[in-house]
Amino acid sequence: MPASVSLQAYLVLAAVLFAIGLFGVVTRRTTIGILLGIELMLNSVNINLVAFARYHGDVAGLVFTVFTISITVAEVALGLALVILIFRVRRTAIADHLDLLRG
């Protein structure tokens, strides 16, 4: 085992997590399940940003991570508020049933 973890190891881990999140977004049928998949994908991107910031000695990646975490939290809060609102109106949890705008 090497003495320290290489940058590539972090990138591979983030790529695997991103693919798992994408799998969840594609396969889930409930709106909340899709949001959880998006969470996984955004989370893996944060790992990339922090790893690059640490290995290149630039603090910008860490600042971006703080920004993305904050924006993601706002996005999830409003996304789940929308989900609850859709529930109150349409009584459904399945994303495929939300076809009001289908021509």
Partner: protein
Amino acid sequence: MSLEPIAFAALAVVLIGSALAVVLTKNLFHSVLWLALTLTGTAGIFLTLDAEFIAAVQLLLYAGGVITIAVFAIVVTERLVGDRITQTSRQLWNGGIIAGAVLVGVLSFVLRAPQGPPRPPLAEDLTRAIGEAVLTRFVLPFELLALLFFAGLLGAIYFARPDD
């Protein structure tokens, strides 16, 4: 030999296992709890990268805030529907093909890229550096973030208004 590779390997196993559980569990509530484990493990990954402040923010906002909101949403929607939400997954093959293609594409770039520089020694306190960068180099995005939160707050109040 340092403990860091062992910690990284253990955290990677926990992360990948819990992330798979998030997308494969039938019970939506369990899915959220697995996501909590994934987000906490990510905070551990940040600790191995010497980013203590980011790990704290991750725990407070993600593992604290997002999980609470998600659990709240599930409880409210289940009460509205009257029975439990079981989520079935569809198009497992298509999802697997798409996710696998993206994974292979990204990994082919990552693994072919030249070996990056070794990790430089910690130059300064990263938390102090973040604070200084936010208020000097990134002050405009910081203010825009405040504007975004204001818009989000207004949107949340609009969504939550009582029926008239």
